[in-house]
Each structure stands twice: as structure tokens, then as C-alpha cells.
Symmetry: C2
Subunit: 470 residues, 2 copies
């Protein structure tokens, strides 16, 4: 850490807006309070914080220059993509030791998507490109970007890399991490590192790209990435099943995993979620009598996966009265909508506490009733709505009832998870929401190692202050 002239340090923030305007252009520095406010509130409405201004650089060099200017002024930089995160990682947090409110750096203009390389099955995308735009570009070239999630129209590639976003196809293709061939990023000192060459084998020292994946903007600002694409699977089949318990679901999924080469999603949700979704969205339930647990299975392939799907189920006792299948796109969309409309339906009844956790597959059947009991104990009368990616052991526990500041239910759920060998964050990251509980999932030695890395790459702590590390 270089000692700075105190006067310069104090003076800097007032000049910062001008410096930033010189870098990105006056029109790309937003300081009108009402405009700034639209960036500084989390869409879950649980998190907000002040920013001195919003800056929207158009290229990597401008991002680096913005960071350098903020670093010299000892001003924090909060990085925001689609602002679809669920843990407050992209809105300003407390940042003792820095000068006043942070600058909010929006990646929205870094939205270019390069030509699809069909020989290598790769593409380079800017951090601000949305998932949906990337998916369209890949499909136009006969390929697919294999990560998909409900927020696809807003979620950005940069945010997905920063949080190692998961989604519904992890069971087949892995999460965002597995798709990242290399990233370009601006570091805290304003230097740019760039691994966009698309080499799939490149063992020349520490994999900085992989270190940045999941680092939640605390080690560098991802500006672009070289991403893997996969062959387009033209045929899909979706099956919705009603089952009696979570344990029955995990058993079935373990069986299917061994028999279905095309298995591309295995989603779980529950009676209370189905009822809420139907009430909120006007959908008709898939069959007359409500089931306790719903399992949605998707298979995809070059040829129709329906036969393989039905054959894999033929040995098993499945209740035909609680089964729906679709192979055409409108039918598939309809079955998926029961699952995908959970998020909006929950938000419609209140501000939920959203706890995104993974359990070892073997204990998921035990966890589900246990977490409902625990929630009822600490927040009597609250509503718990659960769903998730059951093939990955990933459950989203949503609790509506306790106020935003009342974290007893969060503590209770996360402690239960940790006690069962699970992770307190499966795919949303730590953000601001979970820093206090990081120690439930990571040991002191690990946190010390993380802190050492953070200090090494961002000695003044200007990047996403208050996020991830307690």
C-alpha cells in the first residue's frame, strides 16, 4: 500500500466525477438521485445502499481507467450486471476505510457478442451481454450455451461468471465455471488480464480466470469471456411426475442418472409451490389431485429422447394419474412454467428470505421435512416455499413472513444445512446477505487464505467492498 498525500486523498472524490466523465463521456456518468436509486436497490428489495454515481464504460480500457481513478481516490467500486442477484452482491454495502459512497460501475454497455467459432465451439461475449442474447447467438450458429436460468433476459454473462451461476442444466453440463475457457478482467490496480485466446489446454501458471469465477467482483471486474458452446440438441422431452416424498424423488433421480444419457434437468418443487403458482398466475394444475412433491425431468438429444425416458421409467412404479409428458415446445413451456413461475409468485406474496443451499444427495430426504420444522419453530406462521435443482442437491428455501432485518430464520436454516454437511450457498454466492455465516461453510484456514488472496490483488479493498468476506 502506497502512502498517499492526505490532501490529495481528501480532494480526490470531488474531482472524481470529472475524471470519470473524461474517461467514459459525460452522458455515461449518471448522478441524478432518482436514476442512481434505480441501480442501488436490489430487485429482491432486501438490499440497498448509497452510490455517489453510476458510470457506464463502453470497453475494457475504460473499465480499467475507471478502476484506476477510483483506486487513486480510495473510492469503492460496486460492479453491477443485470442486478438479478439474490444476495445483495451488486448493490453498495458498508465499506469502512474508503472515501464516502462508492461508484457503481454498470457493465451494461459491454454487451458485444463476437462471431461464433464453430470449429472450436466457442464464442467471446462481453460482460454486459445478457444470457438470452448469448443463447440466441449460439443457436443461430447451430450450437447452445449450456447454462440456463429463469433470469435469462436480464442476467449478464459478467454477473454469471462473478457468481458462478448454476441454473437448470448443471446436472448435464456443469455450472458457469465449466463453460469458461478464459476471461478478460480489470484488476484493482487498473491492469488488465486477458485470456480470450480460446485455448482449451493452457497450463502456464495459476488459472486466474477460474479464480475470478465465483469471486463476486472482489478480485477484479470481468469485462469479457471466452465461453464453451455445446452441440444443439434438437429434440426435447419433459416429464412431470407427482411423488410422495423428497426421498422418493432423490432415489428416482439416482436411478435415472444411470440410465438416461440425455438427462438435462431434474427439478423439484412442492404442493405449496404448485398451489401458489397456480393461484398467482392462473395456470391450471397438471392433474386434479395435488401431489406432495413434483419432479420435472427434461431430456434432450439429437433424436427424440422420449423413448429412452419412458424405458428408464418402465421398471418403476409411477402413478399414471400424476404424470404429464410433453415433447412439443408449447407443452414443454407449460410444464416448465409450473417450476419457473415460483420466483415471481413468491415475490408477489411478500419479500422472501431466499436461502439457496446444497445438501449431499443422500441427506436431502431428511433435510426437507427438517427445514420446514425448523422454520416453523423460529418463525411461527411464516410460509416456506421450497424448490430446486434436485440432481445437484440444490434447494432454494424461500421464507415469507419475517421482516427483512430479522435474520433468525436465515441463521436457523443455514446452521441446519451446515450441520448436515451442506453448503450455505449453492449458486447465488455470499454477497452481502451471507457474510456473517461464511464460517459455517468455510474453515478459518480457508477464510484466512481467501483474505490473503483478496489483500494481494486488492490491497485497498476498493472492489465490491462489504461483499463476500466478513
Amino acid at each position: 500500500v502506497v502512502l498517499r498525500d492526505a490532501a490529495q486523498r481528501q480532494g480526490a472524490p470531488t474531482d472524481l466525477a470529472e475524471t470519470l466523465a473524461a474517461i467514459v463521456g459525460t452522458t455515461q456518468v449518471l448522478s441524478d438521485p432518482s436514476v442512481v436509486e434505480s441501480f442501488t436497490t436490489d430487485w429482491t428489495r432486501r438490499f440497498q445502499g448509497p452510490a455517489r454515481l453510476v458510470v457506464r464504460p463502453a470497453d475494457t480500457a475504460a473499465v480499467a481507467a475507471v478502476i484506476k481513478a477510483c483506486s487513486e481516490a480510495r473510492v469503492g467500486v460496486v460492479i453491477q450486471g443485470g442486478n438479478t442477484g439474490l444476495v445483495g452482491g451488486s448493490v453498495p454495502a458498508a465499506h469502512p476505510g474508503l472515501e464516502g459512497p462508492p461508484v457503481l460501475l454498470s457493465t451494461s454497455r459491454l454487451d458485444s457478442i463476437g462471431p461464433v467459432d464453430t470449429v472450436a465451439s466457442q464464442v467471446t461475449a462481453g460482460a454486459g451481454a445478457t444470457l438470452a442474447a448469448l443463447q440466441r447467438a449460439a443457436r443461430a450458429a447451430g450450437l447452445e450455451f449450456p447454462v440456463d436460468l429463469g433470469a435469462r433476459d436480464s442476467a449478464t454473462i459478467g454477473g454469471m461468471i462473478a457468481t458462478n451461476a448454476g441454473g437448470v442444466h448443471v446436472i448435464r453440463y456443469g455450472g458457469t465455471r465449466a463453460q469458461v475457457v478464459g476471461v478478460e478482467a480489470a484488476l484493482a490496480d487498473g491492469q488488465v488480464v486477458s485470456r480470450l485466446g480460446g485455448l482449451v489446454k493452457d497450463n502456464t501458471g495459476y488459472d486466474l480466470s477460474q479464480l475470478l469465477v465465483g469471486s463476486e467482483g472482489t478480485l477484479g471486474v470481468v469485462t469479457a469471456a471466452r465461453l464453451r458452446l455445446v452441440p444443439h440438441m434438437a429434440e426435447r422431452a419433459v416429464l412431470l411426475l407427482g411423488l410422495a416424498s423428497t426421498a422418493a424423488v432423490t432415489e428416482l433421480v439416482a436411478h435415472l442418472r444411470g440410465h438416461l444419457s440425455g438427462l438435462s434437468a431434474a427439478e423439484i418443487f412442492y404442493r405449496e409451490g404448485m398451489e401458489l403458482v397456480c393461484r398467482h398466475s392462473g395456470l391450471t394444475p397438471p392433474w386434479p389431485e395435488a401431489s406432495e412433491v413434483y419432479l420435472l425431468i427434461e431430456c434432450s438429444g439429437r433424436t427424440s429422447p422420449l423413448e429412452e425416458m419412458l424405458e428408464a421409467l418402465s421398471d418403476l412404479e409411477v402413478d399414471d394419474a400424476a404424470t404429464a409428458v410433453a415433447t412439443d415446445s408449447s407443452g414443454i413451456e407449460r410444464l416448465w412454467s409450473y417450476r419457473e413461475r415460483h420466483t415471481e409468485s413468491v415475490s408477489a406474496i411478500g419479500v422472501p428470505h431466499k436461502l439457496d443451499v446444497t445438501l449431499p444427495l443422500g441427506v436431502l430426504g431428511e433435510f426437507e421435512p427438517a427445514v420446514r420444522r425448523r422454520v416453523e419453530e423460529v418463525a411461527p406462521g411464516s410460509t416456506a416455499i421450497l424448490w430446486g435443482h434436485v440432481g445437484d442437491g440444490n434447494i432454494h428455501v424461500n421464507v415469507v413472513g419475517p421482516g427483512p432485518e430479522d435474520e433468525r430464520v436465515d441463521s436457523a436454516v443455514l446452521e441446519l444445512v451446515a450441520g448436515l454437511g451442506g453448503s450455505i450457498s449453492a449458486e447465488h454466492g455470499i454477497g452481502r446477505a451471507k457474510t456473517a455465516w461464511l464460517g459455517l461453510s468455510r474453515s478459518e484456514a480457508e477464510i484466512a487464505a481467501m483474505r490473503a488472496i483478496k489483500t494481494a490483488l486488492d490491497p485497498e479493498g476498493i472492489l465490491n467492498p462489504g461483499v463476500l468476506l466478513p
Copy 2:
């Protein structure tokens, strides 16, 4: 960095053997010069260096205690698995600033392999377990560990993680990195970090496991890992084709990649390698007239992939007189042996300069003749033997002729590679062999970031000194 009493620091090395013996037992501290020498020479015979003794801890706690003792004595620790590396990364190198020769830590006793979890398709293996032992354990449970390479009987899981080993199936399953769910490692301060819980989704801060993959023992000593397994593919088909040029091979592989869902290997070698292998090993050539370039394709599946393979080739002009196919294990082994015996055949004619590089797929056809010309220019009369994993753009350039210390040919090849946008190390790492050329593949900003991370986690530089960073 804690300042230490100078007297204690000087005295420590003489007591170190006793301290280490107290940790691991007297019989596991080897100091007989002839025994130590068997560890301190690289199997390529290009690298050697002095070690004060060899220590063989039996568990993670002992590894951590050994590192702590060495750290306190300011003595370097060189980590060795199967000693099958090709860049001198596991034998002692120069280490200014530390006390005398380093301790060589052998992971050979950390060779346990846990029960295979067939629900999660995972297994935990000790760092010293060989690849072959892991493959056997997975197969016994009906699964496969998807990384395979020629040194499987000696190469260890720890070494493969430390170097992010590649091998022949990267085209289908990715390299070692893609199989690592989590690692356990001892850090330079003697603390242990452990991520063996097998959670596939776990976004709780920096992925230390992924940072350790490919770090070549410079950030921590991997003691065990939780690894992904894949379904066993019972049926295999192998096709060997003779072609006229590297460009024809890359074109064919791009076509096959889009049409063969079971493609699990695509290996290239050349006329001079085929002749050398046949001369050295007594194998009969696959067909009478030698081809300029050989392409070996392997497909695997639950059902026989032969039909799909032949169909994918049916549109193309293939010379039947230069084609061999096998679907039974002895036939498959015979076709693979032309490729796999390259390494030993080259070693039989001299001490090769081994340059393991990746090129973007689009320039491989240009690189191959260019590198031969360049080698002939800087080392006239030398023998260049090339082979590699053509689907990944990965070519192993072996040059026999120049003495071990004459690095002109290494420089010439690596500079050519960098000029074409390739990587100076595809799958072997940097080790001692390539530190001088790291700047060809990594920018100053990247090297500075790597150095900052190294200093953060190993401030005194005791772990694998002289390896990776220049």
C-alpha cells in the same frame, strides 16, 4: 513475514531431520545419498538437484507438520508424486534465500482410495494413489475416472492435480481440472484446507481447490481430492487413418466432432514416429505403405459406436488402403500402441527436448511444417518427432539431438508457438523447464498477479522453490 531469531534460523536445519523423524517415524526419513538420488533425478534425465533428505508422511496431518517444520527452519519443500512430469517440477531447483538444500516430500504413502459413491458418482483419493489404481477402483464400481494417460501406472492423483494433467480424453471429458470436485491441501503455514464433501454446487467464496489445480505445488501440497466419475462406456471402437497433411486431419476432426456424440479421443502422429515406434518395439506397421500423417479416433458408448463412426465417415473420401479399425480389446490395444509407444521410443534414441504446446485449431496445419523447418534451422541434423491430442490443438514436439543444456531449439519452438497465438505449455506445466519463457504466454500483469498470490499464500517461498514463477 515474522522476523526470526537468526541463531535459531541457522541452527534449525541440523535439527530438522530429527523433527521430521518425530513426525513421520525414523524409517520414513530417507537420507542415504543413493536412495535420495533416486528421487532427485527427473525420469527424462534432463533435471536433477540436491535434496537434504526424503520424507514420506502417511497422512494429511503429517504433511502439514512437515511443512510447518520446514517453514520454521526456512527450508524449501519439493513435492513429488510419481515423478513422471516432463518439466522438472518435482525435483529440486535453485532456491536462493532458503537454508541449504530442500526437503523432498514424497506423497507415495498417501495412496488410499475411498469407497466409490455411486449415487453422486464420486470418489475420494489420496494424492499418492496412482491413476491406474483409481481407474481400477472406479471400474470395480461400474464407473470410470475419465482422465487417462500413458504414465497411468506411476502418475499420481496429486501430481495430476498439481499439473492439471490432460491426456487422451480431454476432447470428451475435459482435463483433470474438470474432474476435481474439491481438494484437501496443506498450505505453507501448515494449515489444512479441505473441500472433500462432494458438493457439486458450492459458491461460498474463492474456489481454492481450482486455484490449486495447475499450481504445480507452489501454493500448497494437495493431500487428497474428491473426484468426479463418469458412467462406464462398455463399447469402444478405434479407427486409425492415414492422411496426407495436418490440415486434412484438423478438417476431418472438426467434421467428426459435430457428428460423433461418442468421440473420446483424436490423436495425431506422423510418419517418422510410426517408423521409430515400429523399429524400437518390433510392431508391424498397420498397412504396407507409410502415410504422412496418422489419425487415431476412439469412440465409446453404452452400445457399439462403430456404426455411428462409419456413418460419420461415409460422406468423406477415405483411403481404404490406409485404414484400420478395431472393436475388440486386443485390436484396440494394438492400434493405441502405435501412439502410446512414442514416448519410450523417443527416449530410446536420446534425451529429448520435450515441448508440449497448444495451438488454436485453425493454425495447426500451418504450425506443423513450420515447426519442423524452425527446428532444422536452429538444430541442423536433429530429429523432430511430433504427436499429440489433435482435438485439443495440443502437439508434443520432441527434438533429439541438441544437448540438455542447449536451449536454442526450445526458444525457437516456443517463440513460434506464441507468435501463432498458442500456449507454451498445454498439459505439462511450466516446472523448472519453462520458467524463462513464461512471459511468452502470460502478460506482465498476469505474472504480477500470480506472484502476488504466491507471496500471499507462501510468503517465504518454501513450496517448490524455483518452479513455475521466474
